[in-house]
Every structure is written in structure tokens, then in C-alpha cells.
Symmetry: C2
Subunit: 397 residues, 2 copies
Amino acid sequence: MTDFSATRALFHLPDGVIYLDGNSLGPLPKAAAARVARTIEAEWGEMLITGWNKAGWMEMPSRIGNRIGRLIGAEPDTVVIGDTLSIKVYQALASALEMNPTRRVILSDTGNFPSDLYMAEGLCRTLGNGYRLKTVAPEEVEAAIDETVAVTMITEVDYRTGRKHDMGRLTAKAHAKGAIAVWDLAHSAGAIPVDLKGAGADFAVGCSYKYLNSGPGGPAFIYVAPRHAEAARPALSGWLGHEAPFAFDLSYRPGRGIERMRVGTPPVLQMAALEASLDIWDRVEMADIRARSIELTERFIAGVEAACPTLWLASPRNPAERGSQVSFRHPEGYAIMQALIARGVIGDFRAPDILRFGFTPLYIGEAEVDGAVAILAEVMDKALWDRPEYKVRARVT
Amino acid sequence: MTDFSATRALFHLPDGVIYLDGNSLGPLPKAAAARVARTIEAEWGEMLITGWNKAGWMEMPSRIGNRIGRLIGAEPDTVVIGDTLSIKVYQALASALEMNPTRRVILSDTGNFPSDLYMAEGLCRTLGNGYRLKTVAPEEVEAAIDETVAVTMITEVDYRTGRKHDMGRLTAKAHAKGAIAVWDLAHSAGAIPVDLKGAGADFAVGCSYKYLNSGPGGPAFIYVAPRHAEAARPALSGWLGHEAPFAFDLSYRPGRGIERMRVGTPPVLQMAALEASLDIWDRVEMADIRARSIELTERFIAGVEAACPTLWLASPRNPAERGSQVSFRHPEGYAIMQALIARGVIGDFRAPDILRFGFTPLYIGEAEVDGAVAILAEVMDKALWDRPEYKVRARVT
């Protein structure tokens, strides 16, 4: 059983702040500063170039990949870290499209994070030859998977509403129609249990600076199912994905399995911070996180709905259908969030009208939930945003 | 006039080490540890998500880009940092090819760093339609620029030998033949004066962890000439290169000028280390670096040739034709470098037979040059690698 009072003590949280934006940038693990300082002073400073071997920098992308893999139900040696999530999306899509060469459609939904859509657009434009991105509403994506679809590119948890797709079901549908399933776990990894192996996912990508608390600009990760590992050809064929990087061959030969998804020199300082965070994750079971997350989000929804009648729940009411965030809509959402932040409750706003609140059991408990509800109620009342004209329930998706 | 005794005092160099591998990984600027610690504790720790605005993280890629721009002769607002060099190579090539749509050849040379060649290969494979990478010997590259060439992809300074291409001349030839010139400055930025504007370069890329001393895995940079800035379409069209990233539009619109070459969330900790290093670079004139570099490399060559008759100079003898490194060949090069490193002289080895030594005036002076020569002479003598059979002058390129 995960001890959440113990994990909470491992994070630095500023005085007077209720931090409900760990779905955007996780807070600082207390051990991260010392871990990075050690990497800078004892490794970079003293070992210099030899740190790549002596300090094990070169193996970090695979070693850390395995640690993340445990949290997302990945098989051993199927995950590697590096680059940004956008780059990893491009890698996954390019390889997936190449594995399904007679089809031309990447299917996604309008709830996907825009950068995923942009990267798909850019890839399709680069590929030419009729490749295109097709987006449908989130609730229509299952029906839209048909024999024209080469690849589905779906973010499991919607960054705006927290609405969760059914990974197993959509992957099965994709496979039934001959499509390859690429999953974005940006709002899943560290937020909810993920079972990539069980779902039969083909590729997955995600980032480390949200629920995994690696710090601003921490590296992304990519998963390739073992059955594809030796078939996936990287489009971004960088030297550290080469079979023998230090042979300095003039031609590319893909490395073994997931190693080929490495590209260039990995960010050692960011990886050090991520390792400090993963030391905390090593103590945690995702099932415990999930149970606790549901307790906290249910409590928050109940509290807000009781206290703030003009805030409209944008997240699914059924906890099984959402991730670890809760969103409310209000036409004055931007101003409300500014007022909240001024009072020390940090969530965030997403246009046009969404107030987002992330619930992260590693360091958030009932006291923060109740405190946030109280301050939100105060803000709504004082600012007169609870006037009847705001009771309009405009439906925006 | 740059004060090199002052710059030297700003670096941490381990006791008993003569560090001649700053061309591979620069040493630690003393201020970097405190700068990164501040970013971690006072920014990430205290500001949390608001650091993107309050601490200016979001502007770092452009702000730092401009600081690097000064060192490579770039116009204001033409350089942005992020990702790895391999990714930036891909970006530059993809945009350049799209701007020259009737041609299909990327021309490079066999002295280019392999990752550049691999990325070009991967891009050509992704593009299909007859796109191909053509490589010739370095000394043949000028003659090979003809009307079939869409893009030249040339690394100014050869990572093995230090041989320097003439950027102005090759760019002029490229333009005369209707090709677009992409330059890799990995071994140029911070090593030699570069005049991108004067040379008329179209695109340039480079890395920050070699001569610019940003630490292991520091971000890369990309330059786009102002005349192309609004025409270059990014293939890697990530959200931070979007005209309005926080509008979360469903379709990509490229950002203003060089901003569109940003992709995903930038690595804040690595950027902080880079800024600490650039504080040193702000005190430095590249002309002074060059003059001092030539003094040091000439002294090293003279010393080694006098003391070690079986080491064969692999770098150009004329300092105007080389960068800031000196390479020697020896059939037992690997073992010799291991012996040197064991005695505290850190250079590196590149297969099949190259011993590389980088000369970095910010923190290396005559004492290190003379010390390295003496230890190299000792190693050669003791190990009996100066036997007559090694006097074979095998020509390897």
C-alpha cells in the first residue's frame, strides 16, 4: 500500500500555495536539486567527457525508460526517453505509417493536444502522396476507425476535460480494421494505471514533466511494442539510434529494438532530475494512485457543485471515464483562474472557458481539496460571477 | 582584448587533468551549478507552472539564440535553440528541400558527422520521390555542387581532422548553381569566427555542449537567414513554433520568423546551464579566440612533431585551413589515447586511427600544451609505439 504521507514529504511545495496544476508541471521533488547538483559537480565537473561512460549517462535513456515502463504497463526494454513529446509523436507516426503502406489516413480527434495534430500535419505534408490527418469529435473517433485508416493517434486523457478514452477498446477496433494504434499518454503516465501490453498498443508516447515531476522541459518517452521493435524504421535516424554509434559509419543501421528510437545526445541534467522523481515513483503502485485520485476528484466535484452553482462540470461525472483532473466551464473562466491564482490556488485556464484542476495524490490530499473549494467559493461570490446570467450552460467541445 | 586568465578562472577543471576534449564536451563553468540550482529551487520550486512567464522560461530559446547568434555572425532574431543537433539538421534540411522543389539531391561529404548523414538519409526515405543523399570526399565537394543539387549540407569543421571548409566560397558556389546552403557549425561555434551573414548562408545548425560549454546534452541551435524566415515551412511543426501556441488551434500556422523553428517544450535546466556559460562568452571576442587558438595549436603541432616521430599530423598544417583542434594518426591510436587519459591528458579517439585534441583558449594555455606534449612523448616512448614499423604513413580519409 502506497504511503501518501511519506511521498508528500518528498516534495517541495511553496508556503501558502495549493497546487492543482501538477497535470501541467509537477512540483519539485526535494531530492532533485541535490541529484542535479551531483550530476553537475561530481559528474560533469570532475569526469568531463568520461561521464558518458563512468557516470552512465549514455545508458540513462534506456534505464529511465524501463522505470517509466513499469508505470505504463510496458514490457521490459520497450521504452526509451529523449527529445520532446512532439518529436516522439512524429517518430511514432512516421514508423507506424511506414508499417501500413497502403493507407494514407492518420485518424485523431479534436480533443487531442494541438501539438500532436500539428506534428501529424507536418509529417503528412512532408510525406505528400495523399497522406492526411483526419480529425473527428472525441465521441466519434471509435466509429470513424475504418479500413481507410492507417494509424490512429489518440491521446488517452483529454488535456482540457480529463475525458478518458478506452484504450483497450479503441486499440482492438483499430486492429480489427487493420490500423496501427499510437497512444499519447501525456495525461496518463503517473496519473492513471495504463496497461500498454494488455491493451495491445502498438506505439505510445508521453512526457515526464506533468505527473512524473521531472521539471520544466524534462524529456519525453516512446514505447514500441516488442512485436514491432525490429520492424519499426525510424524517420529521425540519429546517431544514438544507430546500431553502433561510435563506429561512425557513413550509413545508418537501426539499433537493436527500442534503442533505435533514440536520436541525438540526451539531456543529462534533465534526466538526472527525472531520476530523482522516479525514486519516488518506485515506492508507488498505480492502483493506489488511482483509488486516491478518484477520492480526491469526487470530493472536489461535490464541493464545487455545492458551493459554486454557475460552474459547469466539463469532466465526465463517472470517475471511470476521466483521468486525474477535473475541469469546470465558466464564461469568465480566465478571470476566475487569475483570481484563484492570486489567492494561492494554482490551476490553469484553457481557452475558451475551461478551468483545469489536477489531482496528484503523491502530494495533494483532502486538506488541499477543501481549501481550494473554499477559496473558489469565495472568489465566485466576491467577484459576483455567480450572477444568474452566467447560469447559461453553453455547450462547447 | 579578451582576458584569458580571467575566463580561465571561471571554469572548474579537475586537479591533475589537462583537458583537451572541450571540442567534445566543454568543462563546467563555475557559475553553472549555482545558476541551475537557482532555476530548480527559486524558479521551479517556488514558481511552479508560473515560471514559464515569471522566470522567463518561455523566452529563453529566443533570448539565448540571440546570444549565440553574436558568436556566429547571425543577424538579430535569426537563431533559436532547442532539441538536439540531429533534430535541427532534419528541420533545416526539410525546409531547405521544400524551398527548392524541382531538385532531389542533398549533397554532403564523407567528412561530415555521421548523424547529419543519417538524418538526411531518414528524411530522404520519408520524402520518397527520388530524394537522395549524395556524399563525396571533402576535397571534392566544391566540384560536386551542380544543377542537380537541391541542398548542400556541410559541416564547416571536420570532426575528425579539424579541416575547415571555406564557408563563403562553398555558399557562393551553391547559390551560383541554384542550391541552398545548410551549414553545421558543431565544431565552429565558439571555436572560430563564423560570419553567417557575410557568407550568405541559408540555414545553419550547431550544438552548445562543445566549445560553448553548456554541459552534457545541452540544446542545439538553428539559424535561418532573414530572407527565408517567413518562407521556411517547418516539417517538425510543434506547438511552440505555432503563431499562437496558447490559442490551442486545431491547425498549425507557423510562428513569426525563426520562432517557427521551435518545436516542443524546451529543456529549462539545460538552458540555465547554457546561460551561465554564455555569461563568459559575453566577455569574449571571437577574433581573440581565433588568434589564441592558432598560437596554441601551432605550439602543440611543433611540440608533438619534434617529440613523437611516428605520429602523423591529420589536420591541415596551415592554421587558416583548420578549426580549433589538432588530430594525429597512429595505428595504435586507441591504446595511445587510453594511456594518455590514464596520465590525465584527456583527448579522444576516433576510429580507425585518429587522436583528437581540442584547444579552447577560454581555459587552456601554453602550460597545458607543453604538459600534454611532454606526457604524450613519455607515453610514446615507454610503450614502444615509436618503433620503426609504425612509421608507415597510411593515408586514411
